[in-house]
Amino acid sequence: MIDNKIKLLLASLIFTFCIFSRGAFEKFPLTHILVQLPLLICVGYLLVDEKLLRLGEWNKGGYATLLIAIFTIAFWMLPRSIDAALSSNNMEVLKFITVPLLIGLPLKIGWAQAHPILKGFLKAQAISMLGVAAFIYIHAPIRICVSYLENAQQDLGYGFLYTAIALAVLWSAPLFLSRETKNFHLQLFFPTNS
């Protein structure tokens, strides 16, 4: 219970922080896309409690919630949508609502129920798509978002690239650990007397 309250508090703190840091983060596409949006996704993540994790039959396998998250991500991946969030207040409000509630929240719920193969597939897909985005943003001879400068756009491209590499390492490194090393680390952090 306390756990839930802390999570809620943390979520509201991050959310408030995002609102007040809007100007600073949205000044550059790199911080807009790769800092602000992930923070907002975290907000949604933190809102999920035990009860939500056990949605009904309709979310079997987590497909429904994952689909919601995927479509919302697709929407906010459109350069048009990002431009619109910068030029229209309504879109900005929409962003602050949908990114936590329609990406972070359902992603967490769906992920918990997803089949391991589906998870693996989505991870591979995420790395691939970050690669595509890096590819396009680094090289495009035009401005993809009219609101941002070209070299800022390139920074974002490299940001995508480094994120892809980081995720690849993060997700594959644990696969190399054997049970023994895992136990060793567990012992290190949670020593038992036996």
Binding site: N59, A64, L67, I68, I144
Partner: protein
């Protein structure tokens, strides 16, 4: 509720929203949307006065039945505007060889009228062989600049080196003064084809 039904509804709804917000997958970017919008709406452009490189005055929309190709530049631009100058020069040559030559004007309009004095404009013209007849370089009055850019939907942001970033494209205005097509600056062949279609 059955998971299959829910998933189908989400997929349908999600696809519909994406389809709708991208104009049927045709425009993923704001620039793409602007072009699509222009082709559908064909908005009438403001008939402002421009000062050409020779110091003469001309109207953006002229009454003698010309089609006008407008490109926005600033002459001190180190890169894109120079490359675009090359494309327009090719367009000028293509037009000269065709029957449409009496009916087409090309105007490079500076959106930096304070720095781009007549000397700078002429220098840009000389570098790219703008003949002053089919193709001229011009600047608007400072007071008209904002409404001009707004009408065309061109966004200009100052960059860190004292220059500007801006959409680069060929804007084609038909005989009735309506902005009808926007093409990539390098799409010279596409522009020739469009012009020939507009001037049968």
């Amino acid at each position: 509720m059955n998971a299959f039904k829910v998933n189908s509804v989400i997929i349908l709804l999600g696809s519909f929203i994406l389809w709708f917000t991208t104009d049927g997958l045709q425009a993923l970017t704001t620039e793409g949307a602007r072009r699509l919008e222009v082709e559908k709406q064909k908005p009438v452009m403001p008939n402002i006065t421009l000062e050409t490189m020779s110091g003469a005055h001309t109207r953006l929309l002229n009454s003698s039945g010309h089609v006008t190709v407008v490109e926005f530049i600033y002459t001190t631009c180190p890169f894109i505007c120079q490359v675009d100058g090359g494309y327009l020069s090719r367009l000028q040559n293509e037009i000269k060889e065709r029957a449409i030559r009496e009916k087409v004007r090309i105007i490079s309009v500076s959106f930096d009228p304070l720095r781009d004095n007549l000397n700078e404009l002429s220098y840009y013209a000389k570098r790219h062989n703008a003949d002053g007849h089919i193709w001229t370089i011009a600047r608007p009055g400072v007071e008209d600049l904002k409404s001009l850019l707004k009408a065309f939907g061109v966004v200009v942001i100052p960059d860190e080196e004292g220059g500007y970033v801006h959409n680069s494209a060929m804007h084609i205005i038909d005989q009735q003064g309506r902005l009808s097509f926007i093409l990539d600056s390098n799409d010279v062949q596409g522009a020739v084809k469009t012009l020939e279609r507009m001037l049968p």
